[in-house]
Every structure is written in C-alpha cells, then in structure tokens.
C-alpha cells in the first residue's frame, strides 16, 4: 500500500540512449556482482559463516552502482550499516569484504567490525556505522576539514554521506544539515529511500514524507531521483557532487528504491503487505536493466548470462578466501584500543587479577 502511494519521479533516462555500450555493460557487471555477493552473504549467514546483524543491498543495486559511478576516488564516503555493495564498488576486493563478514583477520576491518562496520582508509570508505545516524556528524566534519584544506573547484574533494529514510528522523540528521547549510560545506547527503526503516513506512515515520523537501529548512537544494534507474542516479549524484566541489553548496539527494527482502537477513518481513512485496519485486532493477540492455542490443542473452556467471565465480572465490583465512589472534585483542602504548593500560583478560600483591 505504502509503496503505491510513494511518488516516484518520472524516469529521466527511459532508454539507454547516448550512453556508450561499454559503460552500460560495465554497470550491468557491477549490479550483477552486488546481487551475487548479497545472495551469497545471505546463504553464508544461514550456514552460520556470518554472525551478528547482516543487512543487504538487494533491490538497491541500481542505486549502489549509480552513486558509486558518480563518486571520485578523492571523495570520502560515509555510510550506514547496509554497506556491502558500496564497499565492493569503491574498489575493495570481494575477498576482503567477505572475509570481514566471516570475522577473519584478512577482512577490511580486520574482522573487528563485521558486516555493519566496513572501513578502508585507502579507498576513503570511511565506514560503515551501526548506530542510526552515527555517520552523519562525522561526515559533516570531514567536509568541514576539506573546506579548510583545499580550495573549491572541479578538482576539489567532497564528502558523500549515505543514510536511510528512517534515519532522517534522528536529531543528528537535522543538526548536521543545519551545520552544512550554515557553513557551506562540500557534502552530499544521500537518502537511500527504500520505503522502510525496519517495519515502519516513511509515511508512518516522517511528518514530511517527501524527504528531499527537508532540505528547504537548511537552504540547500533537495533533489529526488528514481533509484531503479542507474543512469539517473549517477547523473543526479554527479551534479550534486559538482555543486559541493565547485560552489561549496551542500545538497540533499533522495534516491527512491525498494528493499527486496527483510530489514536484515533474519527478518521474514511478515509485516509487509503482499502488494508492497509485489511492487518491490516488479521494480527489481537487476533483471530490468538486464532486459533493457538486451532489448537495446547492448548485450546478447549469452553475454548477460556470462556476466552473471562471472559474478558468481568471483563471489565463490571470495568465499573460499574468507573461509581459509585465519581468525584474529587473541593475543591481539587490545592491539587497537589506543594509538600508542600508554602507562597502566587495562589489558587483563576476564578473570585475570588486576593487581599483583604489592
């Protein structure tokens, strides 16, 4: 029901017109990789190879690919916990991402963060945060630093901060957007609006359910784009990033997509109406982009099948790597608590005495 009521913008790119075939093919490869990775993550969770919470990008692949096609290597990316696809397309190997999910020392966060806390300083993937809204103030601060560190211009870096629709209701969102608007920071806040925060629809959670309009309170542009249209997402994100780099104009970009499954892998989503589930399945961006490319003659059915197969093989390699990697060494438990050795650092294991008799 809720999904039906959601206003989706007219797709700006109905066809694949004008886009080089190689680029389109490349985008399909990326979407296929994210899809394969997430399906396998779900399977690995069921086999208890992955623990804790595990949130997937299933249904959001066009959004993930479009956003990651727009962001530049010099930009900083902050995200919530639904972060696997972004990490993969930021250039991290599926091996290191899967290893993190498996809690292995070869994982991107050394096995310490898990699914929700992927981090890679080299590619400027600055997390992966499990507390709703936790990423928004630090992302804003990174933009503040960029403003001080370099001049505005087409080559300047910017920050992209991803957050969910439900996350727009927490104080940190409003406080941060106000700061960014006030101080003119080079940041793009992207609301990945998949229609649900756990079991709660946008309409039940936000007094202004047209979330991009919230930008008005902070005098920044608010833009809404169809998240199932990879090219539209890319173009809107590029434009927003351009404003951030060149004019220090923060932007709020709302990307409309669907969450194909439950909130996390263990959520059967029984609260969801069958109508809503049907709409989500019908607008699944992976098969629809695939079909579009075949119709446009960019891919043959055989090409597309080969791409899907290659993605699956790639993910299988990642699983083998993750499986064979060692767990972190217990002797390293306290390794990263502080930057440097500090006098009297508490480093007792449970049950060890804190004092030797003097």
């Amino acid at each position: 029901m809720a999904a039906k009521a959601r206003t989706r913008p007219e797709s700006t790119v109905e066809s694949t017109g004008g886009e080089p075939a190689d680029t389109l093919r490349d985008y399909y490869e990326r979407m296929s990789l994210v899809r394969a990775f997430e399906l396998r993550s779900s399977e690995m969770y069921a086999r208890a190879k992955i623990g804790g919470y595990c949130h997937l990008n299933l249904g959001e692949e066009a959004t993930v690919v479009g956003l990651m096609a727009a962001i530049e290597a010099r930009d900083y990316l902050f995200t919530g916990y639904r972060d696997h696809g972004y990490a993969l397309l930021r250039g991290l190997s599926p091996e290191r991402v899967m290893a993190e999910l498996f809690g292995k020392v070869t994982g991107v966060s050394g096995g310490r963060g898990g699914s929700m806390h992927l981090f890679d300083s080299e590619t400027r993937l600055f997390g992966g945060y499990g507390i709703v809204g936790g990423q928004i103030p630090p992302a804003t601060g990174a933009a503040l630093a960029l403003k001080n560190q370099e001049a505005a211009g087409p080559d300047a870096a910017a920050v992209m901060c991803l957050l969910g629709d439900g996350t727009t209701n927490i104080g940190a969102f409003h406080e941060s957007l106000n700061l960014a608007g006030l101080w003119k920071l080079p940041i793009v806040y992207v609301i990945v609006n998949n229609g649900l925060g756990m079991g709660t629809t946008v309409e039940k959670a936000s007094a202004e359910p047209e979330l991009y309009k919230r930008a008005a309170s902070y005098r920044m542009p608010g833009v809404r784009v169809d998240g199932d249209d990879v090219l539209a997402v890319r173009d809107a994100a590029r434009d927003a990033l351009r404003q951030a780099r060149e004019s220090r104009q923060p932007v709020l970009l709302e990307v409309m997509c669907y969450r194909l499954r439950g909130h996390s892998v263990v959520d059967p989503a029984r609260y969801r109406s069958s109508e809503d589930t049907t709409i989500a399945q019908q607008s699944d961006p992976v098969p629809s982009f695939r079909a579009k490319l075949i119709t446009a003659g960019v891919l043959s059915e055989t090409d597309a099948a080969a791409i899907d197969e290659a993605a699956d093989v790639r993910v299988s390699e990642a699983v083998v790597f993750a499986d064979e990697s060692p767990e972190p060494d217990v002797d390293d438990l306290f390794k990263y608590v502080y930057a440097t050795a500090v006098a009297n650092m508490p480093a007792a294991l449970p049950g060890e005495p804190v004092m030797d008799a003097l």
């Binding site: 623990g51 804790g52 919470y53 809690g103 292995k104 020392v105 966060s109 096995g111 310490r112 963060g113 898990g114 929700m116 806390h117 945060y129 499990g130 507390i131 709703v132 809204g133 936790g134 439900g166 996350t167 209701n169 927490i170 104080g171 940190a172 925060g197 756990m198 079991g199 709660t200 039940k204 959670a205 936000s206 609260y271 767990e327 972190p328 060494d329 217990v330 390293d332 438990l333 306290f334 608590v337 508490p346 480093a347 007792a348 294991l349 449970p350 049950g351 005495p353 804190v354």
Partner: protein, 343 residues
Amino acid sequence: MTEIVSTEVATTRTITYRQALNETLRAELEHDDKVFLIGEEIGIFEGSYKITAGLLEDFGPDRVLDAPIAEEGFVGAALGAAMVGMRPVVEIMTINFSLIAIDQIVNHAAKMRSMFAGQVSIPLVIRMPGGGGQQLAATHSQNLEVWYAHIPGLKVVAPSTPADAKALLTAAIRDDDPVIFLENLSLYSAKGEVPDGEQIAEIGKAAVVKTGTDLTIVSYSRGTTTALEVARQLEAEGLSIEVVDLRSLRPLDRDTICASVKKTGHAVVFEDDWLSYGIGAEISATIGEGVFDFLDAPVRRVAAAEVPLPYAKSLEKAALPSAADLAKVVREVLNISSTPNDN
C-alpha cells in the same frame, strides 16, 4: 527468597522471560489506562525482540505507540507525558541507543523531582536490553548499566529470572519515579517458573538465590544465571557457594551482600560489563567497608576485557567473562587447585 510485597496465589507456570515481560505489559495496560507503551518498532513489527507481540492489536495505537527513530525525542516525550499524569513505558531497542536519549534521562528525568522540590512525579519506565556475545560488534554489545546506576534520582533494576521480570516490571510501572529496567538479549528465551496473579517486587532488594557457606558470588541479570551454573558445578566438587542476585543496582542492597560475605568470608563479583569503575568496584568497596574483618581473602572481580568488543568470534569470546573464568577465580580465592577435567 524473592521479596514479594503482595501475592494472591500459589499456582505457577513455566514461561520464558520474554513471555513474562509480554504478559506483564498486557496486565499493566489493562490495570491502568494511564499506562501506555512507546518505542521503535513495538507495534506493527511487534518489537525487535518480540516483547510487545500482539499488544498493538489488542490495545490500539494510542496505547502502543510506534515512534520514529528519534530516541532523544520520544524518551523526552514520554518524560513529558509522565509529568502530566501518564505512566509511559518506553522500549529502547537496545541500551546502546539510549546514549542518544541520555540527556533526557540524566539531565531531566532524574533531576526533576529534586530540582522542583517534589512538585512533580516522573512515573516513567525505560526498558532496554544490554549484553554482548552475539557478534553484534562494538557499538551493539554494551552493557552500560553503571552509567545509570551512578545517577541519583533514577532507580535501576536488572531481573535475572522470568519471575523477577514480572514482579520487578510491575513494581517499576507502579513506581512514581523514573525506573531504568534492564533486560538482556541472552535472557529473553530463558525459562523459569512464574507465579500467577499480581506480583509486585520491592525495588531495592537483592535476593540470595542459592545458599552456601564457603564463598559468595554476587551478580545480576544474565551474570546470575552463569553464577548459579558455576555454583552447582562446584557443589559437585564439594564446595558450598552462595549466590546473591542484586536485582536492583540502584538502590543497592548492601545489607544482603554483606550479610552473605560475613557468613562465607569470601566473595567474587561476576559482571558482563567492563571492569574499571564497574558494578563490581562498588560491591567490592561495600564489602571492604562493611565486613572487612570477616574476609579471608581479597574480593575478586570477573568482568569483561576493557576493549570495544570486536565482531570476530575468537576475540569476542576472549573478551567476555565466561563460566570457566568465574570457576577459575572462585578456586583461586578459595586457594584450591583446579581439577584436571576443568576447561
């Protein structure tokens, strides 16, 4: 052993901690129309841990209010409703997220009665689970009870059994002061006998949940479950262990703790939280002040390693206190070498 102020019946049923909470919320919604529930995902989703299952359906959206993700906002809103005569019961999804609401809890809810010279009552309950051990990583595995136990004006309870979950939740909801009601992720499916009918515990009282003569283990919440397991295991080896379940962290029942240690002469505190400045530190100091002359050995604490809890199973397991750690320390305090078959 549990202190019960009023009791009507003798029949009991074996139910889970989860079910005990659910039934108590239902009973209190029926008992007093000023009671209402508020929190994220408690209605349509039936609660992240299904504590509120069925309640929206039966009591409607005015009594079971789904809130957006806005902990500071809805905890503060519950506080305001309490100020003008309602009896809100807030669910915060886990204690970790309560840090976003801590200003409303610590700077406001805890202060109002005193600061306004008794003119206002805050009959507010904040329920939330803590606990690690489920690979939820550093931000989602904390206990933090000591943050609240430190604050005058709050009452803090932490039931370890389904029966106490019922009796303490009823007491908390009927209390005229803000009560922090601490649950634990790993207790929700634990089963226990629960007396039928209205049960109201006295907040501020600990319970001796197992008697013994050689050593006292003091614990609370999930820790009590582990303490009992270790006590029974050591009993098979001829040791007589007494277990004190705190039940209330603020106020703290110092008399019950000291009376037990006076008898046994040995004490170990077992807690899931980090060691420095923890509940164990308070218990240890209390024993030092109260029954120093009766101690035959220093009080020891078994607590979590002081590290943001890692996701990886190997590290998580090493960082959290286990039954084996507790058994080892009990033996050390009693100066007994461990048996070869011990892990």
